[in-house]
């Protein structure tokens, strides 16, 4: 009988099995073989057998490697050390066989042969190696032009959707913004010095395929200001065709009811369009975003720990973004300056903004921008909120005093 009956069970079934993957790696790697064994034990014990990470890394960096040890190293020597190496992925997760092959060759030689493609933040994750291999892995990937990503209280590896490389919806150059933010802020990414982690994700349109509004402290979402471009002839084809019911499945599903269909003629009250993308998504040949394009900048998304999960909220409704994105950098640096000044240890910027009050926070960031002679003008505005305050506990700091004449 097999030593790993429970894990074997997960090799069955139609969906690609992670067990097959670990077994494939195990053909060459004792580490991968012991990974199967320790996992079987976890399935039996119903608990993890990984210990709290230790401090490991590569020289000169404080990030990019996560230490991991098993709690029974004598019994499972293959995974006594099982450290993770985060390799900075490309913008849009694009590769070719040559570039990916460089990493695979190094990893087959120096690691378990197991990967995560990709980690939740976006890194190309090499899963499972010894402390002694870390420095050689870094040296070898660096020689091929690759670098490590972020970890700990630093700028985490920025990531983005496929954007203008293969998507007609993309209104900003997501790939270039991501690479520029990554490469311009290498020190912030490799040497943790923030109150806590800071994630940047760049989505080309409000469909947000990279989940920036839920998963990143700084969410950059492409949008447009002018009118949706309508191709009347293509609209007529959709109306006559069987592919979609334009009235029920497009016009009536518009969240602000800003569309009308008269026969084959579609009209849009653009002043009341909230840029939700539904009609454009469904009638890709007939409708396109306007041509005055830029990004909405939102701040503060995070998972629950410590003060509860949050979605990001609007800070700048519309920002034009052209390389080398100086205005964006000025804004990012102003966020960091305010957060760095008063943020507590392990306080994400969203939690910090909530503690400080969004109004105070915006005013503070605006002050920094002004001090730095930034071209970005920021102020409190209704677009940043769902609705104005509904409680009267107002901290007035402007008032009149009696004056003697």
């Amino acid at each position: 009988m097999s030593d790993t009956p429970m894990i074997d069970e997960l090799e069955k079934g139609p969906w690609p099995s992670f067990v097959r993957e670990i077994r494939r790696a195990g053909e060459q790697s004792a580490t991968a073989r012991d990974l199967i064994n320790i996992l079987e034990l976890s399935y039996k014990d119903k608990k993890t057998h990984w210990k709290h990470g230790g401090v490991v890394g590569v020289r000169g960096y404080g990030a990019g490697v996560i230490g991991r040890y098993v709690d029974m190293p004598e019994k499972f020597p293959g995974v006594a050390h099982f450290h993770t190496v985060r390799v900075n992925q490309t913008s849009g997760f694009v590769y070719n066989s040559k570039g990916m092959g460089e990493i695979m060759d190094i990893w087959d030689k120096r690691g378990s042969g197991m990967t995560n493609l990709h980690g939740s933040t976006g890194d190309l994750v090499l899963l499972g190696t010894n402390t002694d291999e870390l420095e050689p892995i870094f040296t070898e990937i660096a020689k091929k032009g690759w670098d490590l990503g972020g970890s700990g209280s630093d700028l985490r590896t920025p990531s983005c959707c496929i954007g203008p490389a293969r998507c007609e919806f993309s209104m900003i150059d997501t790939l270039e913004i991501t690479r520029e933010c990554t490469n311009y802020y290498q020190d912030e990414l490799h040497r943790p010095a923030f109150p806590y982690k800071f994630k940047i994700k760049v989505a080309g349109c409000p469909n947000d395929c990279v989940a920036s509004i839920a998963r990143s402290d700084l969410s950059i979402i492409g949008t447009w200001k002018d009118d949706i471009r309508i191709d009347d002839a293509e609209v007529a084809k959709y109306v006559k065709g069987n592919e979609i019911d334009v009235l029920r499945e497009v016009v009536m599903m518009c969240p602000t009811k800003c569309m009308d269909l008269d026969g084959e003629k579609l009209t849009i009250d653009n002043g009341n369009c909230v840029r939700c993308m539904h009609c454009i998504n469904k009638m890709t040949k007939a409708l396109r975003p306007g041509e005055e394009q830029g990004a909405t900048i939102l701040l503060g998304a995070k998972a629950p720990i410590v003060e509860g999960a949050m979605l990001a909220s609007v800070i700048v409704p519309f920002l034009e973004l052209e390389a080398p994105f100086d205005n964006l950098k000025e804004l990012i640096e102003a966020f960091w300056e305010v957060w760095d000044e008063d943020g507590k240890n392990k306080e994400r910027i969203g939690e910090f903004m909530e503690r400080m009050g969004k109004g105070e926070f915006v005013k503070a960031v605006a002050g920094v921008l002004e001090d730095n002679d930034s071209e970005v003008e920021l102020d409190v505005m209704p677009e940043q909120l769902l609705y104005p305050r509904d409680n009267p506990y107002i901290f007035y700091d402007e008032y009149l005093e009696e004056v003697d004449d």
Binding site: L10, G13, P14, W15, P16, S17, F18, I22, R24, A25, A32, L39, S42, K46, K47, W50, G60, Y61, R68, T84, N88, T90, S91, F93, V94, N96, S97, G99, T115, L117, S120, L127, W146, D147, T157, S159, P164, A165, R166, E168, S170, D173, T182, N183, H190, A211, I213, A214, R215, M253, P255, C276, N281, R288, A303, I305, V306, A309, L311, K346
Partner: protein, 357 residues
């Protein structure tokens, strides 16, 4: 002389890794269509076309499988391939005749084609017992079991709208699951077991106290030694203290398990991005296949299939029919755990007489 150390190169240039047709038409795409589930075609202003074949992956990949993808890309895609945010692999080619060849090749090695349009897309997830020290459950095993059961909904457009599922194996949520259509979240249910004597020696006390969302950790003196204690009534078992302090292990095989959440979304299409809401507060860890979790997810999907309108996401359907009806249709028990009691809980109270009977 020592070789100069190369550091801070940053990300490689993506332009090096774009298919020539994508590079040529960068920013000049006109429209796209879903040819069939898992196959997209993007058409540029120039008239150029690029076809994409999308396959599901378990995210945990061996170098051997990645080399198989590379070889497939070499054969049909001029060597180019990409991954998606949801851990799918995409093969892109400008030659329409290559599409079926790619599909045949990947399917022969066990990789399903799908995940576009109104399908159940690949489930994003965390590390679980494969690699993580704080996990309350495994990730890959549950995801494999769920994806096996919804396989036909990945390869076919069977659903009213897109269905995006996610799993995080503890409240740290490194796979942020607070805005998915269906989320599975690993949970602990007992406070950490602590060695009070060692606490202050191993851990930084102020950092550990600050890690607690509810202020349940207090400074203490035990036998004249600086320590910490946990006010157990205030602990909601998040494990944040264990991340700050290794001497407060929280894993408990008897009580750890998962909760199930629904109705979140990321996209701005139609309705706003929305957080998930609790439907099942606790299901046991039952490896290797977690049948109770798979059953709960399937129950939700079958209610969605029967009641959802075309293009409506699960959360939008629930908004339309109301939460009471959703609980009735799914048969999940409504308990005290469904009533929020953290900050801003009152925002979830029904402050109206709007009720459906």
């Amino acid at each position: 002389m020592a070789e100069e150390r190369i550091t801070d190169q940053g990300a490689k240039d993506y332009k090096e890794f774009l298919h020539p047709v994508m590079l040529k038409n960068y920013g000049q795409w006109k429209y796209h269509e879903i040819v069939k589930p898992g196959v997209l075609v993007h058409v540029a202003e120039s008239g150029d076309k690029i076809y994409t074949v999308r396959i599901g992956s378990p995210r945990l990949l061996s170098t051997k499988s990645i080399r198989f993808f590379m070889a497939t890309a070499d054969k049909y895609c001029d060597g180019f391939l990409r991954w998606t945010t949801r851990n799918n692999v995409e093969f892109m080619t400008d030659k329409e005749e290559n599409v079926d060849k790619i599909i045949k090749e990947v399917e022969a090695d066990g990789w399903p084609v799908g995940g576009t349009g109104r399908t159940a897309s690949n489930m994003v997830h965390t590390q679980g017992w494969v690699h993580c020290h704080t996990s309350a459950t495994d990730a890959s095993g549950i995801v494999k079991s769920i994806m096996d059961s919804v396989f036909e909904d990945f390869t076919n457009e069977n659903l009213p709208g897109k269905l995006k599922m996610a799993l995080a194996c503890c409240l740290n949520m490194c796979g942020a699951v607070h805005a998915s259509d269906i989320s599975v979240l690993g949970i602990h249910r007992r406070p950490p077991k602590v060695d009070y004597h060692l606490l202050g020696q191993i851990c930084e006390i102020p950092t550990t106290i600050a890690a607690c969302p509810t202020g349940a950790i207090r400074q203490d003196i035990v036998d004249g030694v600086k320590a910490m204690k946990i006010v157990e009534d205030q602990c909601m078992f998040c494990g944040a203290c264990y991340t700050a302090c290794p001497n407060m292990p929280i894993a408990d095989p008897l009580n750890d398990g998962v909760s199930v959440w629904v109705g979140g979304k990321i996209s701005n299409a139609r309705s706003k991005p929305t957080m998930t809401k609790l439907v099942v507060p606790y299901l046991p860890n039952n490896p290797p296949r977690w049948p109770e979790v798979v059953e709960a997810v399937n129950k939700i999907i079958s209610v969605y299939k029967e009641n959802g309108k075309k293009y409506e996401r699960l959360g939008e359907m629930i908004e339309r029919i109301g939460w009471p009806k959703f609980f009735k249709l799914t048969g999940f028990e409504f308990t005290k755990y469904h009533v929020d009691d953290f900050k801003l809980a009152f925002k979830s109270y029904n402050t109206s007489a709007h009720l459906r009977f």
